[in-house]
Each structure stands twice: as C-alpha cells, then as structure tokens.
Point group: C2
Chain length 248, copies 2
C-alpha cells in the first residue's frame, strides 16, 4: 500500500516536471511558427491533445499519398520533404527545421500528402491532431492569418526554386546549396557545416545525378572553395562560391 502511494507520487512529480518542459504554453519553438498566434486557451487544447515522437536518422515520418491526421511540429532535428518523380528519383522540395510545421497543407486542403518526410538526423517532433488545428483555424483569424502569412512565404520560396532549377547550371545550384546550408544551419567551431547531407541528398535538393554532384563537390574542393573532414563539409571561400552561384 505504501509502495503504491509512493509510486503514484513519483509518477505525478515526473509528469509535472515533464509538463513544464513539454507544455506548448512554455515551448520556445512555438515562437517561430504559426502557433504563436494562438491564445492561452487554444495552446492548452493543443498541449493536451498532442503527442511527442522521436525519429532516428533515416526513419520515415510520413509517406507520399498518406492521409495525415494532424501536423508535425519540429522540436529538434531536420527532415527532408521530397517527392518521387516518375523516373524513380526523389526530389527534395524543402528541408524542415526546428520550429517549422509539417503537413499543414494536407490538413488545410483535406488532401493526402503530396510529399514524404524522412528524418535527416535524429528528430523530436510533436504531433498535433488535425481537429484542434482546424478548429482554431475557423475560430481564430489571427492564427489563420499567421498560417497564411507563412504559407505565402513558402510559396515565394517555391517560385525562386523553380526559377533557379530551370535557369541555373548544376554547378551554380550546388554552390547555392552550400551557401544555403551555411546561412540556415551555420557552421561549427572548425568551420564545418552543422547540417551534414549526403552527396545523394544534395543531388536530390538541386535536382541532378548523384555522380554529377560528387564530381562538382570534388572540383570545388580542388579549387579551394570547400574542405572536407570525414563526412563533414566546410566552406573555405564563401565569396567565390557566391560569385559562382550568381553566374560570374
């Protein structure tokens, strides 16, 4: 009997301490996405209905064609959102990072996902059931507007990607990809990019064959634009890389 009581207390205190970290109301990540426009009340609803999930590197989060019953809020790690083309190659359309919400489009448009999501490194996600999202979308115009604002931004970025892919050479796009990786994920103390992507992933981001990608990275290393150490890659000459990307 004593044991039982003790166990309950332990359980409760564990729950409490978890909650102050894991409650949406206290989550800092939220500041970077549309959830910041939610009211205290709405956030409580989200928090009560959400579940946390961990994914190992390489694990699938959802698949193309799958029906999503909610959205995923990225707490940690990076996910690649890609689409399979008819010739069997994956095209990475977007990298989703800490703070971003995945799967919104499916929930909003009530369609199956047009993309699949795979963890690039180990990830922590919160899964929020769609009912809460849709409910808030219909009740809180500020939230809806915030989602809209972010989606407008995504669409603008998509336009840029279209223009880049169709008008720039593979070399330019790869140079650009490295500048993107640096400015979005930064570099460590030794000047290596924090986010390490495989050559294949980089190829799938810029839309080229893996071999072509490897070849160009080798060339960049020979020319002193990039350095490598193990799997890690680092930028040595950002200025030249930028000039290359712009087409000089």
């Amino acid at each position: 009997m004593i044991f039982v009581t003790f166990s309950i207390i332990l359980h409760k205190s564990k729950l409490k301490s978890m909650s102050s970290e894991s409650r949406c109301e206290n989550c800092i990540i939220r500041q970077f996405n549309s959830l910041r426009a939610m009211s205290k009340e709405e956030l409580k609803q989200v928090s009560d209905s959400k579940t946390s999930k961990s994914y190992k590197r390489g694990e699938a989060i959802f698949e193309e064609g799958e029906k999503l019953n909610g959205v995923f809020c990225v707490r940690d790690g990076v996910s690649k959102l890609s689409k399979l083309s008819s010739n069997g190659k994956d095209q990475i359309v977007k990298l989703a990072t800490k703070g971003e919400v995945m799967g919104q489009r499916c929930v909003i448009a009530e369609e199956t996902s047009n993309l699949s999501a795979v963890a690039v490194n180990d990830m922590e996600l919160c899964f929020i059931p769609k009912e809460v999202i849709i409910n808030t979308l219909h009740k809180n115009p500020d939230f809806t507007f915030e989602v809209l604002r972010l989606m407008a931004h995504d669409l603008r970025e998509a336009d840029d990607v279209i223009v880049n892919i169709s008008q720039k050479t593979v070399k330019q796009r790869i140079a650009e990809a490295f500048l993107y990786l640096k400015s979005n994920y930064g570099e460590d103390a030794d000047g290596y990019l924090v986010l390490t992507l495989s050559r294949e992933d980089i190829a799938n981001v810029v839309g080229t064959a893996t071999e072509s990608c490897i070849r160009i990275i080798s060339e960049f290393k020979k020319k002193g634009l990039l350095k490598s150490s193990g799997k890690k890659l680092g930028i040595l000459d950002e200025k030249k890389l930028r000039e290359l990307a712009e087409g000089f």
Copy 2:
C-alpha cells in the same frame, strides 16, 4: 414633369442594369475564388472600392519588385506570372485565368511582388485595394481560410512544377504543357487549343531555350502528335503525348 420622371426612371433602370453586371455581389467569377467566402456586406465594400481595368495583349499589369496596393481579380483573359532570372531569361511560374486573384501574396506578406504579370491576351481585371482585403482577412475567418485553402493548392502545384522541371526532359515537359493547355483552356470546334501561346512563352513555361522548344514542337508535328494552323496549335494524339510525358 412627366418627361423628367420618365428620364429618372430610365436612368435608375440603367444604373440598376449596369450594377447587376459589375457589382461583386452579382459577379459569377467570384464563385471560383476566395471572394465567395465574403459576406454580402463585405462584398459591397469590395464593390464600392474596386476599379475595373482593361489590358491589351502584351501589356504589363505589374512588375517584379513593385509594391502592390491591392489585388487583381481576373474577369477575362489570361496573364502570365513570371520572374526574371540572373541570366536574363523569364521563367513563367503560373498562368492566371478567369476567376483567379493575382497579387495576394504581396498584400498578405506586405512584400514587394516577386513576380511580374503580363497579359497573354486582352484582359479585364478588377483591382481591389488592399485595405479591404486585409480588413476582411482579419475579421472573417471563413474568408481567410478560403484564401489559405487556395494558397495551399498553389503550393502543391509549385511542388509538382519543381519535380517536373528537375526530373523530366524538355520533351516530356513540352508534351505535358500541351496536355495542360488542353485540360485547362480547352479546344475549339476544329480541335485547336483555345489558348495560343508563342513558342517563346511555351519555352519560358517549361524552362528551356526558344529554339529547343521550336525544334521539339516541329518534331511533334512531324510525328503526328500536334497539328498547326496559323498561330494555332492542336493536339492530334493525346494518348501518345501523355505516354511521352510520363516517360514511356
């Protein structure tokens, strides 16, 4: 006295008949875009503040980098939305047709336009000042949600474009472009596409050189997939064209 009364009646009836055509409340076009989620009151506001504009083929509606003070609702005609790449070529990102609203993103994100819009054929547009739109966005969740839904759809389409451009050959993309033109704009009684684009425009849609585009269209004509009469082009063998686009 009798004459005056009569004239007033005539005038009123004339106004009435004009308004029933040009008032947003009665506009059928609206059914195809986000404005259908507006209330009677909101539509009146829009109607009172909107201005109608005509554009001739080839005329610019707005330019890349321009700040838009409102949105354009397409009543008739087609507009190409394009972006200039650093190498000096235009990439057409979208064709906007009857019922679609252009310039929403700029108004929502309060940014300058990332695209420029040019009339492909003669156009009739309604210009709606941004104040009315923003006002409604903040007050009417249904409207905001509707805009969001349509933007989610646009984003999905943009993803598809990215995958197509980066993974399919020019020939496949041109085949696809013709299928798109047929399914979206239809064909006339003689089997010619209703929307006639120049070879250069088609090249800018699929992201290739004008010469390559011309060459492939010639090839398609020789192979009996397309026919032409003057500027008009028509699809002769949709099945083969579809197979080609899919990569068989």
